[in-house]
């Protein structure tokens, strides 16, 4: 049976069903439904909820829980995610599985509270200091908020890596019917690195400070090897009407929903348009873009930013096809009509 709920609440339910042990948060719009819902639900379930003194502290509490092997998450919106970058970089270095949710709002600075997609660079290109990657998931519906949150912990633990769900204020706030089709999971089993007290074994330490000659270099090589495996195995995307498409829109999250409507309108006018929607922003679906580009398809990147994901589209296309851009940032939403006009221009 489906239930009509907000994307942010669907995300909470997905994480809880995945065996979330602890939630640490801090208020900021447009993600406030998440800490509010967790403050009731987690306590009722006799799990851990803490409203931290800052986003910095909340992310470091996640680090503390994760170091003992507990499933933990935090959520915030853009300016708060900037503050979490310290702990995110540490968790990448310490190889700690965890979930960080960014319900994006407008920036830079304090920006505004409207949905936006301006944190793509921050999410997929590092964000914090050091050579690292996050696995970045991008849901485009309340149903996917539920499902991606549910899957994120298995993914995080499989690769000992923080996972980010990069969504936006619109997906977060929008109410949609959601099918709660996942079975309840438990906290993950004891792994050979988690801190549990050294009873019956040698003491363990979890650290990213590696001062001895060559040790940090080796650690970085290991991280890169891991990222290569993730890039090989975990790319996820959706295609819509791409088989005969002459113009392919690349869009993620809320933009992909609008793009889909625009594509249907274009098809009615006889223009062969299609959609390539990355579900994982890192690893990025470069291969499929590359093979579509080889067919001579034109690309249009539609984003609620002034052009961020388009850089990865261009890298994948690598000069083989034209790549154009349509986007707005700071509260504006690209409409299907605007996309249609752009498609028509490109079809000329």
């Amino acid at each position: 049976m489906k239930k009509l709920i907000k994307g942010n609440i669907a995300l909470c339910e997905g994480a809880i069903a995945a065996g979330l042990h602890a939630y640490f948060g801090y208020p900021i719009t447009p993600q406030n439904e998440i800490p509010a819902y967790m403050s009731k639900k987690m306590v009722e379930l006799k799990r851990v909820f803490v409203q931290a003194e800052s986003e910095i502290a909340a992310a470091n509490m996640v680090l503390g829980a994760a170091v003992t092997g507990k499933r933990a998450m935090t959520s915030s919106s853009s300016p708060g995610i900037s503050l979490k970058q310290e702990a995110i970089s540490y968790m990448a270095g310490l190889q700690l599985p965890s979930l960080i949710v960014n319900v994006q709002r407008g920036g830079p600075g304090l920006g505004n509270i409207s949905g936006s997609q301006s944190d793509y660079f921050q999410a997929v290109k590092g964000g914090g200091h050091g050579d690292y990657r996050l696995i970045v998931l991008s849901p485009n519906s309340a149903q996917e908020m539920y499902e991606f949150a549910y899957d994120s912990f298995d993914l995080a633990e499989k690769y000992r890596s923080p996972v980010m769900i990069l969504t936006d204020g619109i997906i977060g706030q929008m109410m949609e019917p959601v099918e709660f089709n996942k079975s309840e999971k438990k906290d993950f089993n004891d792994k050979n690195w988690v801190l549990t007290g050294c009873k019956g074994r040698q003491p363990r330490s979890v650290q990213s400070l590696l001062m001895k000659d060559g040790v940090l270099e080796k650690h970085n090589i290991n991280l890169q090897e891991k990222y290569k495996i993730i890039a090989k195995n975990e790319v996820k995307y959706e295609t819509f009407m791409t088989d005969d498409a002459e113009i392919i829109i690349t869009a993620y999250g809320i933009s992909s929903r609008i793009a889909k409507s625009a594509i249907k309108l274009a098809r009615k006018e006889g223009i062969k348009a299609g959609l390539l929607r990355p579900k994982t922003l890192w690893p990025f679906p470069s291969q499929i873009i590359d093979s579509l580009a080889k067919k001579g398809t034109k690309f249009l990147s539609v984003e609620l930013s002034h052009g961020q994901m388009i850089e990865d589209v261009k890298l994948a296309v690598n000069g083989k096809a034209p790549v154009e851009f349509l986007g707005k940032a700071g509260g504006g939403i690209v409409t299907e009509q605007e996309i249609l006009v752009k498609i028509k221009e490109m079809a000329k």
Binding site: H21, A22, F24, V48, V50, A52, E53, S54, I56, A57, A58, N60, M61, V62, L63, G64, A65, A66, V67, T68, K70, A72, E86, A87, Y90, L94, L195, T196, G197, C198, K199, G200, P203, R204, S205, V206, Q207, S208, L209
Partner: protein, 247 residues
């Protein structure tokens, strides 16, 4: 001959990287002795800071994690809330706990987190070469107060224990030192009491240990001990600041 004293099990055999005459070695030993005597080694998860004690995980023989600079109280909160049966303590310096990590310290204390903090106050940032710390004394020369700390420019030394004592969430706060054997014995008692406070589920405990930093103070170890006794503890008087363990 009978062996009457040996290295605590909670200390590894590794060579400490601390400077000659530094107080950290003594404090590490006191912490390790208390962990052993309370039989906590196998249920301990300790949090190392950023600063001189950043390598604590190379010296302590129990589970330890790293934390970003100033964040050990938040990391410890995450550990303890999800593992209430474990023994969790942080080991932090003055810059870590009272400058960059002041918010984490105050709020962990105010929530009454059932954790223990060992706070080593040596009146400067030792690891980075002796810059002004929040606890640097008025007039004290450091790398970043070459003319001495001037309160008009740099403000005043922060008395963390007294500050935390105003919070209802704190249970046990004591300031001790290690400049002579008598005070070392007192320091050990305080650390043990703070650990017991956590074991009894009584809430937030913190022991501030006034320690010496001869190299960064530009003194011989003996002079640094003398300065601790004659000057340092005049600004930071020793004693129990707050004790609600019997309430």
């Amino acid at each position: 001959m009978e062996k009457i004293l040996s290295k605590p099990e909670s200390l590894k055999d590794s060579v400490l990287s601390y400077c000659p005459g530094c107080g950290h070695g003594i404090i590490h030993r006191l912490v390790a002795e208390c962990v052993d005597e309370l039989n906590l080694r196998e249920k301990t998860i300790a949090v190392a800071p950023v600063g001189c004690a950043v390598f604590a995980y190379d010296y302590f023989n129990f589970d330890t994690t790293e934390a970003p600079h100033g964040r050990p109280p938040a990391v410890a909160t995450g550990i303890k809330r999800t593992n209430p049966d474990k023994f969790v303590f942080t080991y932090q310096g003055d810059g870590d706990i009272a400058a960059i990590g002041m918010a984490e310290t105050i709020h962990a204390a105010n929530r009454g987190e059932n954790i223990t903090i060992i706070f080593v106050n040596n009146a400067n940032y030792g690891m980075t070469g002796g810059q002004m710390a929040p606890t640097t004394l008025i007039g004290q020369v450091t790398e970043t107060t070459p003319f001495g700390r001037d309160p008009k420019r740099e403000g005043y030394p922060i008395h963390l224990c007294e500050l935390l004592a105003t919070l209802e969430g704190t249970t046990y706060l004591e300031r001790v030192s290690i400049y002579n054997p008598q005070n070392i014995i007192k320091a050990k008692k305080a650390i043990k009491k703070a650990f017991q406070c956590q074991l009894d589920g009584k809430g937030f405990s913190l022991v501030e240990v006034i320690s010496n930093c001869p190299v960064d103070w530009g003194m011989t170890p003996l002079d640094s001990i003398k300065w601790t006794e004659e000057t340092f503890i005049k600004t930071f008087p020793l004693g129990v600041i707050k004790d609600k363990t019997n309430v």
